[in-house]
């Protein structure tokens, strides 16, 4: 976008506008997403508990309830406890919120040759995981600076939990990376083009189990019930945000819903095909950039709707789990992570590696051959990748590098 604008404007202005557009889109996605999700959470919890949930505000279904809540929060007094570390107390919600939003920088919403992504990083998955891990920092600061034992307890639990769950989460994420052959989220999404049989969750039995382990760990790492020990209303009043009120409190909630959304979108890109639907509608209708910019745009738009839809479904499943399962004890949380998730993830990683060695180029539990062109996207140096028409797709860049790698004979000479 910046390159396009700079044909008509000064370069600095073009880059500023492009950056602002990206920031505005991401902020709106997170904020409006939180608005919708809070309403959805109330409705879902109501239905699960055989209630109606909000019904009045905004006509039917109470769909303006969150907005009314927001206005109420705005009018509340911004309090800080007397013994608090005021500077850290005030800044902690923003730290959480920034970390939650920053993850969206590297998340693509549509792929192809012109991916819809704020900043196309070569190490997308890695960046998203790294930034999501920073959210805990805001929580720890909040817990420490509140000068309240409830807050401190919540923060300690959160720190222990997040640090432990990053291990199995990372191991689960490595499996799709391994199969797609790239850390680039756009490339990972595009290797799953076509029918739902190409989705990595159905790639082999190991990835199928990995997906569920990933989802468990993701739920834990964003502090959702049954892993919401940092808040634990029945024991810790409200955990790390006990002392917060008004808008600062709501920032914590926006951060929580934002990171729920981002781990769900990450799950959909890594395992559920991303912007490639269960049925390849965009391929049937010919909505690709080769058939003109408008059709290409439409295809990308459908892809973005697809990704966001899958993300919303993921968030809904998290809500369903929250209102179904009781909260775990802290030792049970740790046991789930260290005794179950981590070993399972490690074995699945080994299994997926062996599967990929034995049955390369097959998908849907090894039953279906992958078309050469799709298989080549993440596969460095194969000839089929040369057929790609556009100038600089990330996959091609990688292929070009891989082609300059030493030949097979050179590698074998080194005893590899």
């Amino acid at each position: 976008m910046a390159a396009f604008l700079s044909q008509y404007l000064w370069t600095w202005l073009a880059y500023t506008i492009a950056g602002l557009v990206h920031v505005a889109l991401i902020l709106n996605l997170v904020a409006v997403g939180a608005l919708v999700f809070i309403w959805l959470e109330r409705k879902i919890s109501g239905r699960i508990q055989d209630r109606l949930g909000p019904t009045r505000v905004g006509g039917k279904f109470g769909w303006l309830q969150t907005l009314a809540d927001g206005i109420k929060l705005l009018t509340k007094e911004d309090l800080a406890p007397e013994g608090a570390d005021h500077f850290l107390f005030k800044i902690a919600p923003y730290v959480s919120f920034c970390a939650s939003i920053a993850a969206f920088i590297a998340i693509p919403f549509a792929g192809g040759y012109y991916p819809w992504i704020a900043q196309h990083l070569n190490v997308g998955v890695f960046f998203v995981l790294a930034v999501l891990g920073l959210e805990v920092f805001g929580v720890i600061l909040a817990g420490y600076s509140s000068a309240s034992k409830w807050s401190l307890f919540g923060a300690m639990r959160e720190a222990a939990q997040v640090v432990s769950y990053e291990v199995p989460l990372g191991m689960c994420v490595v499996v799709p990376v391994l199969i797609a052959g790239s850390l680039d989220l756009v490339v990972i999404g595009d290797t799953q083009a076509g029918w739902f049989t190409n989705w990595l969750v159905f790639h082999d039995p190991f990835t199928f189990i990995t997906f569920w382990v990933y989802f468990t760990c993701a739920t834990a790492s964003v502090n959702r019930a049954p892993f919401d020990l940092a808040e634990a209303e029945s024991e810790l009043v409200a955990g790390f945000h006990t002392e917060y009120s008004g808008l600062r409190w709501s920032f914590f909630f926006m951060a929580e819903y934002g990171s729920m959304f981002s781990v769900s979108i990450l799950a959909s890109i890594l395992f559920l095909g991303g912007w490639h639907g269960p049925i390849p509608i965009t391929e049937f209708l010919g909505l690709s950039p080769e058939n003109g910019p408008f059709l290409g745009y439409l295809g990308q738009l459908l892809g973005a709707v697809n990704v966001i839809g899958k993300g919303v479904i993921g968030v809904c499943v998290m809500m369903w789990i929250r209102w179904t399962l009781p909260r775990l004890r802290i030792d049970q949380v740790m046991a789930t992570c260290l005794k179950y998730c981590t070993p399972i993830a490690a074995i699945m990683f080994l299994g997926a590696t062996l599967w990929q060695l034995q049955l390369p180029g097959k998908t849907f539990f090894g039953l279906i051959e992958v078309p050469e062109a799709v298989y080549a996207i993440g596969d460095g140096g194969s000839d089929a990748a040369g057929q790609m028409p556009e100038s600089e797709s990330p996959a091609e860049q990688q292929d070009r590098i891989a082609q300059t790698t030493p030949s097979a004979s050179q590698i074998s000479r080194k005893g590899l």
Partner: protein
Amino acid sequence: MESIYWPSFFFFLFSGLACAFAVAVLLSSNIVRMAFYLVLSLGATAGLMFLAGAEFVGAMQLLIYVGGTLVLLIFGVMLTSQERFVVMKTWAGDWVKAFLAGGALLFILAYAAFSIPEWRGIERAEADAVEAQPSVTPIAMGLLGARTDDPDGSGYLLPFEIVSVHLLVVLIGAAYLARAKRSRSSLEKL
């Protein structure tokens, strides 16, 4: 505005932020605030890495330093700190010692940075001609013993293996230390 070279501008912005927060670490006496400033300083350093196009190193910086180390640091500090360490007081002698040690290191680093000809900056026209390259694949290939930049040079397979085995040993050791001991009561295990 046209005359500003934006990469340099952002370099000075991020490096200035990193230095400013590093100074703030020195000047604050509360240990949790220090940790907070340290996070910001390390985050600005990660920004420098991203600016240089070394996305992998930047993300590493975020994950390992900003994420891992600091969470552990704060965790450890909050669990273990006594009143004496929560608010630190520095005496004049400490300042002198710290300045001697830090100044010596700074001198060596700065001297090395400016005296090695290969580390000189390149001209602007030359910099514009440099194309951004995806950085992960060459790193991974290099670690597996096949370097892309220098096909005849040796790779880094042995160091990579040593580090991997070392990490495995550490993990097994941690699991061994953290295992449940039979002699303890069930309450203590929690």
